[in-house]
């Protein structure tokens, strides 16, 4: 085998481009095994270094191919020639092939022996065995490949320029030009694609030879032509390819109807602005103003908002819905109660437009069930008359409705519900009231499955239970479909939530459809056209005259001279607007108070969020344990027992007042309140999480890396500039640990009050003593009751 040392050695020598030394184990002992052995011991290098040398050697050889080399063979004769190839794998040295070899005249040794031999006898290629080579000298190797390339390019450019100049000259001379003249000098480049547009043909040519298949007046029968021209009789039968419709079938009518119904159902979905779909369905749309791209190829970018809402909508509903496909455009369609449909669905409601729509379902609900059914049918038939395309929907709806009524089994109810949800059609429809049984069943089922996903304090248990019962009772007693639906939708989503943990923030928010009118009830519906109001009003002259007439009718009216108006606005106080802003100290102090309140509210918000199962899920399932609050660190409202009004607690300024009676009874204290619900609320808040995890349990949060937050955010301090104090939650923990309640820790544990704006870095150090500082997040160390404004460390 070829010793690596050789290569390395060669590589080392390559700098002077002379490969001398042992080329293989020549029989003449010029460089035999012995030699190699000693060399190996002499130049032992690590495998890596060897490899580097080998690589260099290879590189050198590759670059020298094609260049002039001098080979001295062991016999002493020197050959010159172009290096054509070399065998790196050869075992005994380096085999090389020379092209156009010739002997070098000044070769040292026995020239006489070969004197008679002419260079011609060497032939065109000359192969030299590695074992015979004593020395290989490479000449004029250009190792700068890049330079070479650059050089070539510039050469090329020069050529191009010349070409261009030539063509220009030709242009100037206005010679006849060939294709090559025009395009020859140019390198191939991408051209702009242009839409093909038919040339407008003059009327004459159109009539003569522009007849197309469609335009042809006579009908074209390929079979007859084929027969006439070539005598081929076609055996074509349409029914080879399709199923024959058996029109004699006794059920034909019925099947036809069914097919039509299906077709209508599909078509009735509407194209919803999808031009392509509309075209497929043969719906004529106005496509003027759209080019081919808009029509067929471009991505429909309308409704970025739609997309956003889709994101929200899609997921929670997926859990509850079946696999039925619903076109995306339909998913956000209005459904449930809709004033429009009420006003369009019959005489009674149409007359009383001003009636709050929410009353209407209630009215319907008040009627006994049997009647209700008939009413629904009437309604359906009415709508049937008005909007025939809606028939399939309603037919099926009614059917489902029956089904749900007949069987009180749960699945059917939920299926009805599912169906109901899915079958949002472009035309908003009124909800069909559920039967009482179904509702009760649904609620029962919910109450069985529903479990408060956190430990309910003992004193709360009865309350929760009672509330649940009450809720169920209330639902049963007052079957207002509107309320129930709300209840239902909430609860069903709760169920689904307990099964599928929230993936993203979006899923924790149901898109709520408001009930009632867009306008508050005070608004006069019959306000009508107010355009007329803009005629006299806002008219400076008319109004001035009016005002004048009211006051002093006797005097003649003159329009106020404009030069009375000073360039300033009428102020009521002699102060600058700047004085209405707090000074720095006050502002910062206020910010701090805010922060305290914020913390406080976060706790109460937890209370508020309990009726929002989505949050609860996360706090109970993922949040609580992850936050690793040791039992001792459980946050309690200090002095809650001492008569803090629970409403105040729950209903702090941002108004997290719970609409759910279940929660209203919650006393502020004694309840487990993870003090930071935000991480679940806002997944991207997670920078806080690891911090807390470390503090308490050392378990990193699984949510720690919020996928949609840019990494920069994680590292960026988002507090006040130069803030170097404490991460706030550290303070919280500390306070809790010290046995104090959150805002009221009476422990004088040496927490000084710092403003986050403190830029002194030793603020950090100071706190470091008590709490390790994990981040440079801003800071309002709020847990001290000693307000010492501007208490910088120095």
């Amino acid at each position: 085998m070829k010793g690596t040392y050789k290569r390395r050695e060669n590589g080392a020598a390559s700098s002077n481009k002379k490969l001398s030394g042992s080329f293989g184990k020549g029989p003449n002992g010029f460089g035999n095994g012995n030699n190699s052995g000693s060399a190996a011991s002499l130049f032992y290098e690590s495998a890596e270094t060897n490899k580097q040398f080998t690589d260099r050697f290879d590189y050198l050889l590759v670059n020298s191919i094609g260049s002039d080399v001098f080979v001295t063979v062991v016999s002493g004769i020197q050959y010159e020639g172009l290096l054509l190839a070399c065998n790196l794998k050869s075992t005994a040295g380096l085999d090389i092939v020379l092209k156009y070899p010739r002997r070098v005249k000044g070769s040292s040794l026995p020239i006489n022996e070969h004197a008679e031999m002419d260079d011609t006898d060497l032939g065109e290629t000359f192969l030299i065995h590695g074992a015979d080579i004593a020395e290989l000298e490479l000449k004029n190797i250009d190792l700068s490949l890049d330079d070479k390339w650059e050089h070539e390019k510039s050469e090329q450019n020069k050529k191009n320029v010349e070409e261009e100049q030539k063509s220009k000259e030709r242009d100037a001379k206005k010679e006849f030009k060939t294709d090559v003249d025009i395009s020859g000098g140019k390198s191939v480049r991408e051209r702009e694609l242009k839409a093909w547009v038919p040339d407008e043909l003059p009327a004459t040519s159109r009539t003569l030879n522009s007849q197309t298949l469609e335009e042809s007046s006579s009908t074209w029968d390929q079979f007859s032509v084929n027969e006439k021209k070539f005598g081929i009789k076609s055996s074509y039968d349409e029914h080879f390819y399709t199923t024959k419709i058996n029109k004699d079938d006794p059920h034909f009518e019925q099947k036809l109807k069914e097919a039509q119904k299906l077709a209508e159902e599909i078509e009735g979905q509407g194209s919803s602005g999808n031009i392509h779909l509309a075209e497929d369905r043969g719906i004529a749309i106005d496509d003027s103003g759209m080019d081919e791209e808009d029509l067929y190829s471009g991505v429909d970018r309308r409704g970025g908002e739609l997309l956003a809402s889709l994101k929200n909508n899609a997921r929670p509903t997926e859990a509850t819905k079946g696999n039925r496909y619903l076109p995306p455009t339909l998913r956000t369609q209005p459904h449930h109660t809709d004033p429009a449909i009420i006003s369009s669905s019959g005489g009674k409601t149409a007359d009383s437009k001003t009636v709050d729509e929410s009353e209407i379902p209630a009215q319907i609900a008040k009627q006994p069930p049997a009647k209700k059914e008939s009413e629904t049918k009437v309604r359906v038939s009415e709508e049937h008359k008005e909007t025939p395309t809606e028939v399939p929907h309603h037919g099926k709806e009614a059917h489902l409705h029956d089904f749900g009524k007949k069987s009180s089994r749960e699945p059917s109810v939920s299926r009805f519900y599912k169906d109901y949800h899915q079958r949002e059609s472009p035309k908003p429809r009124i909800p069909l009231p559920l039967t009482k049984e179904a509702q009760i069943e649904e609620l029962k089922k919910f109450s069985q499955k529903f479990k408060v996903p956190y430990e309910v304090p003992n004193d709360m248990r009865s309350v929760v239970k009672k509330n649940e019962e009450e809720a169920a009772d209330a639902a049963a007693k007052s079957p207002s479909p509107k309320d129930q639906k709300k209840e239902l939708s909430r609860k069903s989503s709760q169920q689904s939530q307990t099964h599928s943990p929230p993936v993203a923030r979006g899923t924790t928010h149901l898109r709520r459809r408001p009930h009632g009118s867009f306008f508050s009830s005070q608004r006069l519906q019959s306000a009508g056209n107010k355009g007329a109001l803009f005629q006299e009003n806002f008219n400076f002259f008319k109004q001035a005259k009016k005002a004048h007439d009211l006051e002093k009718e006797m005097e003649p009216f003159f329009v106020e001279k404009p030069y009375f108006t000073a360039p300033t606005w009428n102020g009521t106080v002699e102060e600058s607007y700047k004085t209405f802003f707090p000074d720095e100290r006050t502002a910062i102090q206020e910010a701090q108070v805010k922060f305290q309140e914020r913390q406080y509210n976060n706790m109460s918000a937890m209370g508020g969020s309990m009726n929002q199962p989505q949050y609860m899920m996360s706090s109970g399932g993922a949040g609580g344990p992850q936050m690793g609050m040791p039992p001792g660190g459980m946050m309690t409202f200090p002095g809650a027992g001492a008569g803090v009004d629970p409403n105040n607690v729950a209903g702090g300024p941002p108004g997290a007042h719970s609409p759910n009676p279940m929660m209203d009874g919650f006393p502020g204290g004694g309840m487990y309140l993870p003090f930071q619900p935000q991480p679940m609320f806002y997944p991207s808040m997670t920078p806080m999480m690891p911090m807390m995890g470390e503090d308490a349990t050392n378990s990193p949060s699984p949510q720690a890396m919020s996928p949609h937050m840019p990494p920069a955010y994680m590292n960026m301090p988002f507090g006040y500039p130069g803030a170097s104090g404490m991460p706030p939650f550290q303070g919280m923990m500390g306070a809790a640990g010290n046995g104090g309640g959150m805002p009221g820790g009476s422990s004088g544990s040496g927490h000084k009050h710092y403003y986050g704006h403190n830029s002194h870095s030793n603020g950090n150090a100071h706190h470091g003593g008590n709490h390790p500082v994990h981040t440079t997040h801003h800071v309002n160390n709020h847990n001290s009751h000693h307000h010492k404004p501007r208490n910088h460390n120095k």
Partner: protein, 821 residues
């Protein structure tokens, strides 16, 4: 500019509700035009608008279809335009430097430059610059292959920039008047004006930007209309605040930090975050660390940071609190939404709570302290039912002008550009669409000071507070912002005094609406101008009985048009000698009546006359520095004479608006050289408009007209609608069609058919121009009229003989080509 990044966030949070449009039946809907148009003309639309100039024609199509739906649902729309900018807005729009900084930044494009740090205008200019650079590269690269097949630009000229509405305000107003739609131009902020309209019951709902969330008197507003689905998206303020868990104070705090309409820049520490997440991030800061961005600005200020930020913040909040609106009394004053009530309630509730807690927790010291703070900040609000208004609102909003001026502005009678110049002391000259690098354009700007601006300022300040008569006002140009030109607004006697004896009173004028051609007819039919139009008595004093004042819209506009002609030195007027005679230019103007030109063209040709009179550039003269023509090098070399013809023709045709269907958005060839000329004429048109508006306003404020005789819509339809120079000039499409038609015609052995086919293909006219040949015929007719005009001008030695001969040959050449002879 809405609250940054909020809209998307609202959608993400599911806080946007929707209702069918039907539920707005029989209501009056107040629409913020800015917001509305930004919805209609999204980024993809009208990408080449800046390369051809003119009005975005697709806008009319959208308006039409939307108005139809409103009509179907019996919804009465009330469109409210934005008025002047507040101090913050003006600063953000570089009003005081005329975009000089942005222009400089735009031309030195650094691809690495973060998009967030650049202002919208800068991005727009940068995109324009990029597109023009690419365009010239394209021309260079195709120099040898391009013969007569025009090249199409690949880079859009606007991208992610909302169309500047101010330029098209008058066009929209015209459209609204035509369709009898109620509109109003707010004195300042449109959405606050809308909130006033809503509170006082003039409208039932607002269709406006997310900024409305900052208003405590707007519970719900409509954010967007989805006409295809027939529903609309709305935002419920209470729900949003509840969902965010912030008080309205905190919400405003966040808005001021992330940037909104009243405070358009992003404040620290938020600049480092991605702009589409700003709101979300700052909300988190507030929720988690109780960040108060005002406190942040103050503290960073104390550390030697920029005072500017505190200032911006304070101005933003204050302009929200003390925004002037146009009241139904026709007066403009500070409108306090009475946030005091809400503010008080909000600040009391928590403070009551905190007191409670604090007392329970024996934190008396804190209580005292916080009480005293609250006292200092809320004392005034708590004590006084009326919200206190500071004395220096003019610093945050702008100096106050007389109510009468605001009224004219609300009608759209005057654009407000000059009002801003008066209140801010700066008249900015911003770069035109082509960049405005030609010497002739800059000369035009220099000449405009003497010719127009001084007179306008004088006319407008003469009747108002003395302060404005003394106030220094400067013209600032984008290309040399340091080199300010002081506008002298003091002349003695004042411009109005020089002119107030010029009165036109016709008796039957009520029937014919004013137009330039009608005016020419009137002059031509008058035997003795001096006798008819010079009045011994001035009519403005209050002692003059109403029936002797100017009583009809036609007379008002005619009187002022004649005054305009005198100011522009088309007519010589000497009251002492009671002489009013047309000079050469005036005679040329009168010739316009004899050309047989359509009435619309008379007004346009007048603009051309004024331009020629400035003598900055003749019709056949090349620009310096030269602007590259879109004609191919082959054409320029092979047909030098014809190229000259084409140049002259295209320039004249910039005043010819091709009849385009609004359904197709323009995509096709562009020509910078033509655009440059168009911008010259546009500049003249703008200045004529300014001067004419100033004349009318000065005449009105002086009481020459019976102002009590008109209702709002009469003001609009009889006066505003018929004021000349208000509409945008045509785009360059017709010019380019003729240009490329003639080029093809030259290269193709003078075959008309092929050339026409080329135009039809390149300009996709099968889509947008229903009758191409007719348009060509009309343009030829127009050119022939131009030729006659030039002959006349030549006779009067107002243009050189060469010029008129060249034009004459050019028109013959074009006529032959188009007629196919």
């Amino acid at each position: 500019m809405p609250i940054q990044s909020l809209e998307l966030f609202l959608f993400e949070r599911g806080l946007v509700g929707s209702y069918p449009i039907d539920s707005l039946k029989n209501t009056t809907l107040g629409i913020d035009v800015n917001h509305y148009v930004s919805r209609l003309l999204t980024t993809k639309k009208e990408q080449f608008l800046d390369a051809i100039g003119g009005f975005p024609i697709s806008l009319k199509m959208y308006l039409e279809s939307d108005l139809k739906i409103f009509k179907e649902s019996n919804i009465t729309p009330v469109f409210v335009f934005n008025g002047s900018g507040t101090a913050n807005q003006l600063a953000a729009n570089s009003h005081f430097t005329a975009l000089a900084k942005e222009v400089a930044a735009a031309s030195s494009i650094t691809p690495s430059g973060s998009q967030a740090s650049r202002s919208a205008k800068e991005l727009m200019l940068a995109q324009r610059h990029k597109a023009w650079t690419q365009w010239s590269n394209l021309l260079n690269n195709n120099q040898s292959t391009y013969i007569d097949q025009p090249l199409q630009p690949q880079e859009p000229f606007r991208y992610q920039a909302i169309i500047e509405l101010k330029k098209f305000q008058s066009d929209l107003i015209d459209y609204f008047i035509e369709h009898q739609i109620v509109y109003q131009v707010a004195p300042y902020c449109s959405w606050i004006q809308l909130s006033y309209l809503l509170s006082s019951g003039f409208i039932d709902a607002i269709y406006g930007p997310t900024d409305c969330l900052m208003l405590s008197n707007v519970d719900r507003f409509i954010l967007g209309m989805e006409f295809p689905n027939k529903d609309f998206r709305f935002i419920d303020r209470a729900r949003v605040l509840k969902d965010f868990h912030v008080s309205s104070e905190e919400f405003i705090d966040i808005c001021m930090a992330v940037g909104n309409d009243l405070q358009p820049s992003v404040l620290p520490p938020l600049q480092i975050y991605p702009s589409n997440k700003l709101f979300e991030i700052s909300l988190e800061m507030v929720l988690n660390t109780g960040t108060n961005f005002y406190a942040y600005q103050l503290s960073s200020n104390a550390q030697g940071g920029a005072v500017q930020e505190v200032d911006k913040y304070e101005k933003g909040v204050s302009s929200l609190k003390y925004m002037p609106v146009l009241f139904s009394s026709g007066r403009v004053d500070v409108y306090t939404i009475d946030p005091s009530r809400e503010h008080m309630e909000e600040s009391r509730k928590p403070s009551a709570n905190s007191e409670h807690r604090q007392s329970n927790e024996n934190m008396a010291s804190v209580k005292d302290r916080s009480d005293s703070q609250e006292g200092s900040t809320n004392l005034a609000a708590a004590d006084d039912k009326t919200f206190p208004i500071p004395r220096d609102v003019h610093d945050i909003i702008g100096q106050r002008l007389p109510d009468e001026y605001y009224y004219y502005k609300s009608l759209g009678l005057i654009s407000g550009k000059l009002f801003d110049a008066i209140t801010t002391g700066v008249y900015p000259e911003e770069p035109p669409l082509d960049g405005g690098s030609s010497n002739s354009y800059r000369e035009l700007i220099a000449k405009s000071v003497e010719l127009f601006k001084n007179k306008e300022i004088n006319l407008l300040t003469q009747n108002i507070n003395r302060y404005f008569q003394m106030k220094p006002i400067v013209q600032v140009k984008w290309f040399s912002p340091e080199n300010k030109v002081a506008l002298t607004n003091r002349t003695s006697p004042s411009v109005f005094e020089q002119l107030n004896h010029i009165i036109i009173k016709t008796n039957n004028a009520k029937t014919t609406p004013f137009s330039v051609s009608e005016f020419v007819k009137l002059l031509l039919s008058t035997e003795d101008l001096s006798k008819e139009f010079i009045s011994d008595q001035v009519v403005f004093p209050n002692s003059v009985p109403v029936d002797q004042k100017i009583n009809s819209a036609f007379d008002l506009l005619s009187t002022n048009f004649l005054r305009l002609l005198i100011q522009l030195e088309f007519f010589d007027f000497d009251f002492g000698e009671k002489s009013l005679t047309p000079n050469q230019w005036g005679r040329a103007f009168l010739k316009l009546g004899n050309l047989g030109a359509e009435s619309d063209f008379v007004g346009k040709l007048f603009i051309l006359l004024v331009f020629l009179k400035t003598k900055v550039l003749s019709i056949s003269q090349d620009f310096t520095p030269s602007v590259r023509s879109s004609l191919s090098d082959h054409t320029l070399r092979s047909y030098p004479q014809e190229s000259k013809y084409i140049l002259a023709l295209t320039r004249l045709l910039t005043l010819f608006q091709v009849d385009q269907k609004p359904t197709a958005i323009y995509h096709g060839p562009i020509d910078k050289k033509t655009l440059t000329f168009r911008e010259h004429l546009d500049f003249v048109n703008d200045n004529l408009n300014d001067l004419f508006e100033s004349l009318v306003v000065s005449s009105l404020t002086a009481n020459e007209f019976d102002k009590l005789s008109l209702q709002n819509h009469e003001w609009q339809s009889e006066i505003v609608y018929h004021m000349p120079f208000k509409r945008s000039l045509p785009n360059t499409v017709m010019s380019m069609m003729v240009e490329f038609f003639l080029q093809k015609y030259l290269h193709n052995g003078n075959i008309k058919h092929d050339a026409l086919a080329l135009v039809s293909t390149e300009f996709s006219t099968y889509k947008c121009v229903p009758n191409l040949t007719e348009q060509f015929d009309q343009s030829i007719a127009y050119l022939s009229q131009c030729k006659v005009l030039f002959d006349e001008l030549c006779d009067m030695k107002l243009v050189s003989k060469d010029e008129s001969e060249l034009l004459s040959e050019a028109v013959t050449f074009a006529t032959n080509a188009v007629r196919g002879e």
